[in-house]
């Protein structure tokens, strides 16, 4: 991938809080990352680690209330998306940034034909007339590999299978040639063969269209096969961030190492049981003032309870938010 190029999307210190009846929940805590053109960034973490909320905060897709994007900047094409007019934000959504959601079964409107749903952004963002939009919608369906695309434009979502619906969702997200595609667990609801097809399709489209992709998942296997860089999230924070080979070969954060251990293997000696990470991720009712992973960590020491570790730069685009230095096997100097 092109290295050192200008980032298309740059997120700094993003913080999102949910105001609930039981108090505030700090879902995203000072998340920063950037994305270069043509790059595929994987985002991994357990359920509730703030992956989806981070991405939806970027485009203002969270219902407010209860969500409140407290601070941060999201720079896209020289504008801060958190402080633009609703009209500008709408022109970015679906136009320059496409979004694919997790559940294809419920993400399409059941009462409109899929053709109509694909044509909506085309007519709004690209100003196509009905005939041009129909032609383009058919192209898009062919692009994502739906056979007999022309006839299927008039079909309703319930006439498609789950995998086909996810392809339709991808077609909608790709409709206006976006610069960035955010895919929020696009293959989680699908069975493994369809998942593989969608992964291949995404890689192909990324190469063909040259767009940057953010791929959210909790499946490390998927990440290994598709991503250029990986960002590991825990309790609404980025705990480790590295190029994909570096992350899998030299994981630095104890959480990443624990995650990698949980991958079952089919070669070698059969383990008696699947490995798990003991404990539950914390619910962040206050801003973090200690390492959120310390209760489940096997190398935690007293400093972890006093301070929240910053992201230490380890060189070569690798950083980890941990006071323990896995390379030296001892505490890191502040």
């Amino acid at each position: 991938m092109p290295d050192g190029a200008m980032p298309v999307l740059d997120v700094r210190d993003l913080k999102t809080v949910f105001r609930t009846r039981g108090g505030e929940v700090h879902a995203v805590n000072d998340v920063s990352f950037s994305l270069k053109a043509g790059e595929l960034l994987g985002v991994v973490g357990e359920s509730g680690s703030g992956k989806s909320v981070t991405m939806m905060s970027l485009l203002g897709l969270l219902p407010s209330p209860p969500a409140d994007v407290r601070h941060g900047t999201v720079t896209f094409e020289g504008q801060d998306l958190l402080h633009v007019s609703p009209e500008t934000l709408r022109s970015v959504r679906g136009g320059k940034i496409g979004f694919v959601f997790q559940d294809p079964m419920t993400s399409l409107n059941p009462v409109y034909p899929v053709g109509f749903q694909i044509m909506e952004p085309l007519r709004k963002h690209m100003g196509l007339n009905k005939r041009e939009a129909t032609v383009r919608a058919q192209e898009l369906l062919e692009l994502v590999g739906i056979p007999d695309a022309k006839r299927r434009l008039d079909d309703y979502p319930h006439q498609f299978s789950g995998g086909m619906r996810q392809r339709v969702m991808i077609a909608i997200a790709l409709a206006c040639d976006p610069k960035v595609l955010i895919a929020d667990e696009p293959t989680t609801a699908l069975d493994v063969t369809i998942q593989a097809q969608i992964l291949e399709l995404m890689k192909e489209l990324r190469d063909k269209l040259g767009m940057a992709v953010i791929w959210i998942t909790h499946d490390l296997g998927v990440i290994a096969g598709i991503a250029d860089r990986v960002m590991v999230m825990y309790a609404g924070q980025v705990v480790e961030h590295a190029p994909v080979h570096e992350l899998f070969s030299h994981p630095q954060h104890p959480y990443t190492r624990a995650l990698l251990k949980t991958i079952p293997t089919i070669t070698g000696k059969r383990a008696a049981r699947l490995t798990i990470i003991e404990g539950q991720p914390p619910i962040m009712t206050s801003p973090p003032n200690a390492c959120p992973f310390r209760d489940r960590c096997d190398v935690a020491f007293d400093r972890c309870a006093r301070e929240n570790p910053p992201r230490y730069d380890l060189g070569d685009g690798h950083d980890a938010a941990c006071f323990y230095d896995a390379r030296t096997g001892g505490p890191r100097d502040a």
Binding site: G94, F101, T106, S107, N109, V111, E120, H158
Partner: protein, 335 residues
């Protein structure tokens, strides 16, 4: 869809005949005598002859088929005759009211326009007010508007028309003197002034009935909108960059209307029932009032016919609701 409609229409025939039988037997079993209001000086043997003249000396298994024959064959024939100048119904006995001795359908024909004006208008007004209230209440949930809408709906649900009607009369007719308390059926609308008079005399009955409709429909609309606003496809529509008006009025509304259409269609017969009381209060001589008078006078053919027509309305509205359901929701296909 067409074959489905035809099948449903055919199936509704036995349903309706059964309903007619139940109504007939209920009236048969009910206490009361059409001769009860005759003067006591009439000798018993004369009364017997009068009873026989009305056909009441026959058992029910004779009278019920006769009623069916008159309702389904003679009356349509008579209607065809009067429209096309044919003579199918010549010499055949029409359905005759015991009280007025005039054909039942002629009386109904005279009374129907008043009821349709008041009831139909109130339903249209009620639904037209209810839909925006429901939509805005759901979109701005727990806002001042939503709270006010909830309050008004609670009033509409809990205050019966015989109370709200009298209340309106006391305020607007007795105290303020703005509106007439009696509906003048003889008024002929042929100028701006008579139109305004008609409008003024319609306001109160329409408002009383519309309040109930608004209360019900706006609640259903709100609940249905809330169900749909939190759906994933709404987020998809927003992620596509659609404006809020497109998201709400195109994506959410179409889905939300599916259950509401059923409520609206099935509410039409019940509003005719509610009109019976409202018509009494405002002295509208419509179908409701006709039914009450017929009940009081043991006018069996009249009661039977009006009740059965309401049953037909209910069955038809059920069918229409199902068809509209299929049109709005592509997942439901009947064929």
């Amino acid at each position: 869809m067409l074959t489905y409609t035809i099948r449903r229409l055919l199936l509704s025939i036995p349903t309706l005949i059964f309903i007619a039988f139940v109504i007939f037997m209920l009236l048969e079993l009910a206490p009361g005598d059409p001769m009860a209001q005759m003067p006591l000086t009439i000798p018993p043997e004369v009364k017997e002859r009068m009873r026989a003249a009305l056909g009441l000396d026959q058992p029910w298994w004779v009278r019920f088929p006769l009623w069916l024959n008159q309702f389904f064959i003679v009356e349509p024939q008579y209607w065809i005759d009067s429209t096309f100048g044919t003579s199918f119904a010549e010499g055949k006995q029409r359905l005759i009211s015991f009280q007025s001795r005039s054909p039942v359908f002629d009386t109904i024909g005279q009374r129907l326009p008043q009821t349709l004006w008041v009831v139909g208008m109130s339903y249209v007004v009620g639904v037209l007010i209810a839909l925006p209230i429901g939509i805005i209440s759901a979109y701005k949930q727990y806002s001042v508007f939503d709270q006010a809408g909830t309050f008004v709906s609670m009033i509409g649900f809990s205050v019966p028309p015989f109370f709200s009607g009298v209340l309106l009369i006391v305020i607007f007719s007795v105290q303020l003197g703005w509106l007439p308390s009696i509906y003048d059926t003889t008024l002929v609308v042929n100028s701006w002034d008579t139109f305004m008079t008609q409008l003024r005399q319609m306001i109160m009955p329409v408002m009383v009935l519309a309040l109930q409709t608004t209360a019900q429909v706006s609640r259903y609309m709100r609940a249905s909108m809330l169900d749909n606003l939190s759906q994933d496809y709404v987020r998809t529509a927003r992620a596509k960059g659609m404006s809020e008006s497109v998201v709400v009025l195109k994506h959410v509304l179409r889905n939300s209307m599916i259950p509401v259409v059923t409520v609206i269609a099935l509410g039409i017969p019940s509003i005719f029932g509610g009109a019976i009381i409202t018509e009494q209060i405002f002295k509208v001589n419509g179908l409701g009032q006709l039914l009450i008078l017929a009940l009081q006078g043991n006018d069996i053919p009249m009661v039977m016919t009006i009740t059965f027509l309401l049953a037909v309305l209910i069955v038809m509205m059920n069918l229409i609701a199902d068809i509209l359901y299929g049109i709005l929701d592509p997942r439901i296909r009947y064929d």
